[in-house]
């Protein structure tokens, strides 16, 4: 049986020196009469150190694999989710601007003789025609409202509702907005497809495209 102190000394030595050098020094065989046992113990310590080193290498490999997994399954999907949402909000804002601009342009359909007064008379046919024409130009669509190649829309755009509120005093539009002034209410449905991982996202959602429902109430400037 080896004294505890000796074992501790050998372990300390083996920690300080690489096992190969320990064996070369032949320190165990020549130190004591129980040489074979010591050699065996030396080999065991060497193996322990090798195993520890293997464990360390394994830890490093595990770290790299973990990082790769975190990047692939967490960082990139979260980033693309945020980016996709941001792109959608930018697209929605562009469409909202185009609809607002078109709403205000429908002002032209007000009968000119009433412009200086407080009453509103709308030529509805003219308004529809102006509205469709301008919306098609501003969203880069063909006359039938289907998208041109460089359009923000990915499918045929639908004008869900187009209404004029000539009174506009505490009236509520179909989408629930309280109107205080004469206004043009428009609700347009614009189908868009995701910009990134388009096919995968659409397959997961079970849809051909996402519908952006853009609702804009534009005040009509009368008597200004």
């Amino acid at each position: 049986m080896l004294p505890e102190r000796l074992v501790l000394k050998l372990i300390l030595l083996s920690k300080l020196m690489p096992p190969k050098e320990l064996i070369l020094l032949n320190i165990f065989r020549n130190s004591y009469t129980t040489g074979d046992y010591m050699t065996q113990r030396g080999y065991e310590i060497r193996d322990e150190i090798r195993n520890e080193r293997k464990d360390e290498r394994g830890d490093a490999v595990l770290d790299v694999i973990l990082l790769a997994a975190i990047v692939v399954f967490v960082v990139i999907p979260v980033f693309y989710y945020v980016l996709e949402n941001y792109l959608l909000s930018v697209k929605a804002q562009m469409i909202r601007d185009a609809v607002d601009m078109t709403n205000i342009s429908a002002y032209e359909a007000i009968r000119a003789e009433n412009l200086s007064g407080n009453t509103l008379e709308i030529d509805y046919e003219k308004m529809q025609s102006i509205y469709r024409g301008l919306l098609a130009k501003n969203l880069i669509l063909y006359e039938d409202m289907s998208p041109k190649p460089e359009s923000i829309a990915d499918e045929k755009v639908l004008i869900d509702s187009l209404l004029v509120f000539s009174e506009g005093n505490g009236v509520t539009c179909p989408n629930g907005t309280m109107l205080d002034r004469p206004s043009i209410h428009a609700c347009v449905i614009v189908p868009v497809k995701p910009s990134l991982y388009r096919q995968f996202i659409l397959e997961q959602a079970g849809k051909e495209y996402f519908e952006l429902k853009i609702h804009v109430d534009s005040e009509i400037p009368i008597d200004n």
Partner: protein, 125 residues
């Protein structure tokens, strides 16, 4: 222990590069969004004034240049009477330096266009 430090260091460098690379995706989109806002305010002025004045045009170019746009071209209807169609077309280059690989940045340029049609509301008495 030493290998762990090295691995952690390399991992941190790669992760930082990846985050920078991803965040830089937002730069052109954000600039285009700002361009839309600038142009929208110009359109509102044009609708009321019945055309694109030289001052408004210069102000728009100035704003866009300050935001980092290059090669800015602005064309717009200069005079329109009530009910006439008007147009504003703005073209510009977005140039910025972008991380293309771990230790290298490359300058990239995108051409962006804003083109809208609207109707003049100015009543000329």
């Amino acid at each position: 222990m030493a290998s762990k430090v090295v691995v952690t260091g390399v991992v941190l460098v790669i992760l930082t590069a990846l985050i920078v690379f991803l965040v830089e995706f937002f730069v052109p989109v954000s600039m285009k969004s700002d361009m839309n806002t600038f142009c929208r305010s110009v359109i509102m002025k044009m609708e009321i004034e019945g055309g694109l004045s030289a001052e408004v045009k210069a102000e728009l170019i100035d704003k866009m240049r300050n935001r980092g746009f290059k090669n800015i071209t602005v064309t717009g209807s200069e005079y329109a009477k009530y009910g006439d169609e008007m147009n504003l077309r703005v073209e510009a280059d977005i140039e910025f330096s972008r991380l293309m690989h771990l230790f290298g940045r490359t300058s990239v340029a995108h051409r962006v266009v804003y083109d809208k049609t609207f109707i003049a509301r100015k009543v000329v008495n």
